[in-house]
C-alpha cells in the first residue's frame, strides 16, 4: 500500500504485538528528498489511511529516510 503510493520506496513493516494491528514501518523513498520529516510522515500516513479508517490498523509507528543519506 505504501509502495503503491510511493513508487520505488523501500518499505519495511514490523508487527509489534503479533496481532497485526500495531505496526512499525520504516520507509525509504526518493520522494522524501527535500521534505521535512513531518511532510514525509504525512505521505506515509495518507497512504495507509484507508487501513486506519476501516480499523485494520490501530497504531503505526513511522520512520522515514531518503535513500543514500
Amino acid at each position: 500500500m505504501i509502495e503503491a503510493a510511493l513508487p520505488g520506496a523501500a518499505v519495511e513493516v514490523v508487527d509489534e504485538t503479533g496481532g497485526g494491528d500495531h505496526l512499525r514501518t520504516t520507509v525509504t523513498a526518493a520522494q522524501f528528498k527535500g521534505l521535512s520529516r513531518i511532510d514525509q510522515h504525512r505521505l506515509v500516513k495518507a497512504a495507509v489511511k484507508p487501513r486506519f479508517d476501516d480499523g485494520t490498523i490501530h497504531a503505526l509507528s513511522v520512520k522515514t529516510a531518503v535513500p543514500g543519506s
Binding site: I38, H41, S61, V62, K63
Partner: protein
C-alpha cells in the same frame, strides 16, 4: 468541519506559545506513553513549553488539528507556529540533535529520553486549559 471557535482558540495558543505540546494528560501526569516520551525529551532539553491536555476535548481537537496541520493524532509538538511532529519524529530529532537545534536549546550530553527519569527542571509553564 471543525468547531470554528475552538479552532481559533487553538490557533491563538499556537501563536502565543513558541513551544507548545498538545498531549494526553499533563506533563506531570501523562496519560499516554507517546505523550510521556515527548515530555521526557522536552524536559531533558530544559526548555519552557506550554502543554495542552487534549483528553477533555479529544475528538473536537482532532478535527481542529486536521484542518490546521493535517495531523490528527496526539501528541503534537508545535515550534514557532509549525507542527514539528508527533512522538516518532520528536524522538528521532532528539536522538539526532535536531530537536535541540529546532528549540534553540543545548543537546544534553549522553542523555536519551528513556533515561531521563528525573528532569533537570520541571516544566515551568502551568498547564493550559481548553474550556
Amino acid at each position: 468541519m471543525a468547531d470554528a471557535e475552538l479552532k481559533q482558540k487553538v490557533e491563538e495558543l499556537i501563536a502565543a506559545n513558541p513551544v507548545l505540546l498538545f498531549m494526553k494528560g499533563t506533563p506531570e501526569m501523562p496519560r499516554c506513553g507517546f505523550s510521556m516520551r515527548v515530555v521526557q525529551a522536552l524536559d531533558t532539553m530544559d526548555v519552557e513549553y506550554g502543554a495542552v491536555d487534549v483528553l477533555p476535548a479529544l475528538q473536537p481537537l482532532r478535527e481542529v488539528t486536521a484542518e490546521i496541520s493535517d495531523w490528527q493524532t496526539f501528541p503534537q509538538l508545535y515550534v514557532n507556529g509549525e507542527l514539528l511532529g508527533g512522538a516518532d519524529i520528536v524522538e528521532e530529532m532528539f536522538d539526532s540533535g535536531e530537536l535541540a537545534e529546532a528549540l534553540g536549546a543545548e543537546q544534553p550530553a549522553g542523555a536519551a529520553p528513556a533515561q531521563a527519569a528525573i528532569p533537570a527542571q520541571p516544566a515551568q509553564a502551568p498547564p493550559l486549559q481548553i474550556e
